[in-house]
Point group: D2
Chain length 373, copies 4
Amino acid sequence: MKRVLKWGLIGGGKGSQIGEAHRVAARLDGDYQLTAGALDIDPQRAKEFADELGIPSDRAYPNWQEMLVKESAHSDPIDLVTIATPNATHYEIAKAFLEAGFHVLCEKPLTLTVAEAKDLVALAKRAGKTNAVNFGYSGYPMVRQARAMIDQGELGKVRVIVAEFAHGSHADAADADNPRVRWRYDPVQAGVSSVLADAGVHALHMAGFVLGQSLYEISAHFDSCLAGRKLEDNALLSLRYSEGTIGHLWTSAVAVGQCHGLNLRIFGEKGGLRWSQEFPNQLYWTPLGETTRILERGADYLSPEAQIASRITVGHAEGMLGAFGNLYSDLYRKIVDPVAKPLYPTFDEGLEMVKAVHAAVDSSKEGGVWKRL
Amino acid sequence: MKRVLKWGLIGGGKGSQIGEAHRVAARLDGDYQLTAGALDIDPQRAKEFADELGIPSDRAYPNWQEMLVKESAHSDPIDLVTIATPNATHYEIAKAFLEAGFHVLCEKPLTLTVAEAKDLVALAKRAGKTNAVNFGYSGYPMVRQARAMIDQGELGKVRVIVAEFAHGSHADAADADNPRVRWRYDPVQAGVSSVLADAGVHALHMAGFVLGQSLYEISAHFDSCLAGRKLEDNALLSLRYSEGTIGHLWTSAVAVGQCHGLNLRIFGEKGGLRWSQEFPNQLYWTPLGETTRILERGADYLSPEAQIASRITVGHAEGMLGAFGNLYSDLYRKIVDPVAKPLYPTFDEGLEMVKAVHAAVDSSKEGGVWKRL
Amino acid sequence: MKRVLKWGLIGGGKGSQIGEAHRVAARLDGDYQLTAGALDIDPQRAKEFADELGIPSDRAYPNWQEMLVKESAHSDPIDLVTIATPNATHYEIAKAFLEAGFHVLCEKPLTLTVAEAKDLVALAKRAGKTNAVNFGYSGYPMVRQARAMIDQGELGKVRVIVAEFAHGSHADAADADNPRVRWRYDPVQAGVSSVLADAGVHALHMAGFVLGQSLYEISAHFDSCLAGRKLEDNALLSLRYSEGTIGHLWTSAVAVGQCHGLNLRIFGEKGGLRWSQEFPNQLYWTPLGETTRILERGADYLSPEAQIASRITVGHAEGMLGAFGNLYSDLYRKIVDPVAKPLYPTFDEGLEMVKAVHAAVDSSKEGGVWKRL
Amino acid sequence: MKRVLKWGLIGGGKGSQIGEAHRVAARLDGDYQLTAGALDIDPQRAKEFADELGIPSDRAYPNWQEMLVKESAHSDPIDLVTIATPNATHYEIAKAFLEAGFHVLCEKPLTLTVAEAKDLVALAKRAGKTNAVNFGYSGYPMVRQARAMIDQGELGKVRVIVAEFAHGSHADAADADNPRVRWRYDPVQAGVSSVLADAGVHALHMAGFVLGQSLYEISAHFDSCLAGRKLEDNALLSLRYSEGTIGHLWTSAVAVGQCHGLNLRIFGEKGGLRWSQEFPNQLYWTPLGETTRILERGADYLSPEAQIASRITVGHAEGMLGAFGNLYSDLYRKIVDPVAKPLYPTFDEGLEMVKAVHAAVDSSKEGGVWKRL
């Protein structure tokens, strides 16, 4: 019988969108059983919701600390813990569970500070445990196809990359004081960056993921377009990568009319690629001097990395929950077979993104000077 | 604790695409536990695959007959059975399980003959059991939005509907004798119709589903474009509906360059709608005399029927497995609350589609004369 | 110095859209000088408008009969006459000018009856004069590319063609009695067919143009969706071509939300093509078993027929007036070099379209029986 | 009779794409007669090509100096002169013709230096003559619609503008030494900037044109992606406008797969707009909190500025030559009626673009510091 992993969830309580997304993603392939949880800051709500989800009552914990102690002592403990709590708590929870020997999937951002992120990376290495950060968009089959094509040299040296994650969700001045929106622009609650740390970083991660390069330096301009915002709701980053690719990232929360706005364009010596999250089943490829071709998810000609990330035949639409589910199936493969090399984003990538956000913040404060990571 | 339904699956063995799709769909919302199965015509393979899927060995049946007997006698029997076996077996299996008091989801076509389909409809009515046919595309949120808008009169009387399901999967003459393709054009194995019964019927069902009308009469022209095919690989149907809407359906398996090809256009007195399965998260709406608007899945302005069919926020792509999952969640709602009125397709709709295919076949044989259903 | 042809225009008076389109098209390449005209049924308005357009007053005629007489007697007569008068007058004017030895471009339909059209074809042959019908959409570069690719065998035998010209311009019931609309559905003014003869016939012509085949037989269903209309505002035609291609044409004037709605899809043994008038600079090509490629107007890889039909470099949009202008430049080439073989539509094609409309009308009256042309 | 203006052309000789585009544009509406020209640096070729174009031999000049002298002395001189010569000559020719009292349309860039551009602006003001720079893309109807909507407050205060003109025409390393390409990256021939001055400046002009604001400051990063290039083939500009709008411009010549790549996105307090040159007949408008609407060129609901810029009914494609022709028809209106206020780009706008290019060059050299214009 196929091994089903025991999965624990911290945070992601009732009404949390990301919590529900994690649960659907984990269910998709039948790889996990939700076995334990500390789902809410309110112990009573945590219990009730755990019960609703079918978590046995003795593993429905009032808080992550008790979950840590009891699962560590359990005869048949959880295999993987997902951390979907507020950003400021990621560090201590991830640290504690790694130290206790659990595999960890942490929501982004990995941590609030670079030092904390470095600490977790080092700890994860010592612990030898599977560690992942939820840059879930990297699970899309056609993003993996792009990565495979670049890795195989189909584009030659990549010269320029253009990444965007620009939506209009916080554009309404009449809604700016809605608590659901306001906290995002309050440094006390959101940290040093708003839209870059929240949205843009997904596009930035994806850029590095497909390039297979690390960020070398950043020049950034941040703006707050709505009066009273202390953090940026629009940012432009110039990027330089380790192997010479240049590019830019635009991220915004005031781009009225862009429903989601995550997309990527890549231009190499031998060809170009284009992909958009809103229409994720197509990848547009133009070999130098030739016509543009539309690559379709699920088609025979795709790379193994893209094939394995699909669940239905070509022509059918697949979406974000499938992409997200691919991170869970990647982690499954890694946990059941530690020598496997699935493509989920690791703490190293989480660290790079924490560094990038801080470098961009610093650059912007100094008028756009280049900052090395 | 939320009630989890016990689910049984007949057919859909290892390597079956539709079987895997059913399993993902049933898992998506955590509503079902795969509890019993007769997954393969080969008893040994059935057992092995059931084991792989985690079905307890005492409910991993060698055939549906034994499953019927044992589940009927079980103290805690399955709630819903899905029939994903070859078309010719649907009738007897569905009949047997309905008579034994199970809720049934049957793959399309419901049956091979109109008489059988009528029989099942009558039986389901007597049995008072939930009965569904897997026209899974009708689960897409924006298809349900279209239905809701028409139902609420946003389009006024619908004058014309244009439905297509035209792909190029069987266009390659070099591949025509591949057994995977050939059986589809062999009347002995496929019945009276090929591409209409296999693909076109999905679009035809969707047309009636969004219109809320039944088919009144059909005029059809069938063609076999590849030499040696005894059944149609291209068909054009003229349609007349019960409340006066006219329209047409084009279905094809030789439409090279169309990856999937299911789409719908609807034209009423007061506006028009347009939707395509390959880009399912957008519905294009043109109120008469105004600009075309792009409705987005997950947006606040959608109907409750569309809202409940979404699992992630606006701007993210959702796909076919979500649509398919909506049929399972509809059935869940119906089974746990028999007075609920979810939108899954019933045996009545299955019967109408069997009638429509036969009417089209007959019309085509007689040069396109109109045939009433 | 390049020879500039002397051009005469009959009809197309002030405020006429088609008249203005002819004038822009004729000006585009500097090939013609508007030298004579009988621009309006009202002699006074004809004179005034001719003056406005810079036509010398002695060649600003009060009616086509006087224009015929005087231009025939002129020492330096016009080279080409365009007939843009009401449909019922095409026959006698075209006949008269052909007999007098002029080259003729006639607006569509060539004539109202098949007999008249046959007569003009025969007369044109005897006269040896350039004769053209304004199926202007066939001048689009990418339509010519499609024709060239099919001619060169890129698609192999074409199996299926799907043509559409379906717009929503006459969908508004509140506007149905507007004289600008009403006459189109009045048999006395519009003849035997409305939307097919007016719009659909363009798509039908284009289908035959790219296929290089003639129509063999037609089965049609006509409908009038708005109460009180005596002619069809929606029609579906099944088509069979001389060399075995099958297909269908949908034309409508009640397709709310379709701005223009002329498009073509072509499916052959070896590949498929797709083109839409609203986005005319791209032609989508899918070789069998491969990815879809986007061919771009103006690109190096296009056929000579497409290259010559472009006026600006790749990537720039070109539009309908350029397409229309290509008919005028084709005619220029033919007139200055009678052995040239430019691609403008001839009276033969005009005749075929008159036959097709009548066959469709007859088929529809008889419930959709097949009618040979 | 309508007044037809006498038009003179300097440069734009045989084989020149821009010369041919000017001639088509000037012919489109029958507003101009090509009356005089100095079409080529080679006097013999100039004569021959003038003859081919039908320019009377006594006004087919061997050089612009002779044209200036003779047209100035002519009893019926040209009304408008177009300067389509190499960039370095614009200044002296424009200066000379303005001083002699002619209306002038100058190709972009207006001049090579800011001082020269300022000089021409001042001179044009003194001379009181119509002066224009050929930012031809601003003639597109839907660009004018965007401008009108912003001007009328439909978007409220514009917060962010994103402009692009990024193509892949100079991406091929194997073609980099082709003289047709190489000169563009040679400072001696091309001046201080390559792709920004050549392509990007069109998008930058369009941004200001639709905003109705002037540029306040620029921060830029230039890159040369191909080895050996001394000027940029990729540039990213951060922009700040006079009334507080921020934004960015990306321009590139190595964006393989982008055929043309000019597009604009505009985000205001009350809505967003999106337009692309490759599909110029649609403007996407999203009012805050509502669905995206597709505005169509030629539709009744458009502004008068957009209506007057169209030549054919809604649904038909229009293209670049129509847009370009609108500059000529604007100039016609201005010349025949000096109090008219058509929207063609003036020398003031030409000056601003020269300033912008220099500011960007300077900023890039200093690591991206902000430069005021």
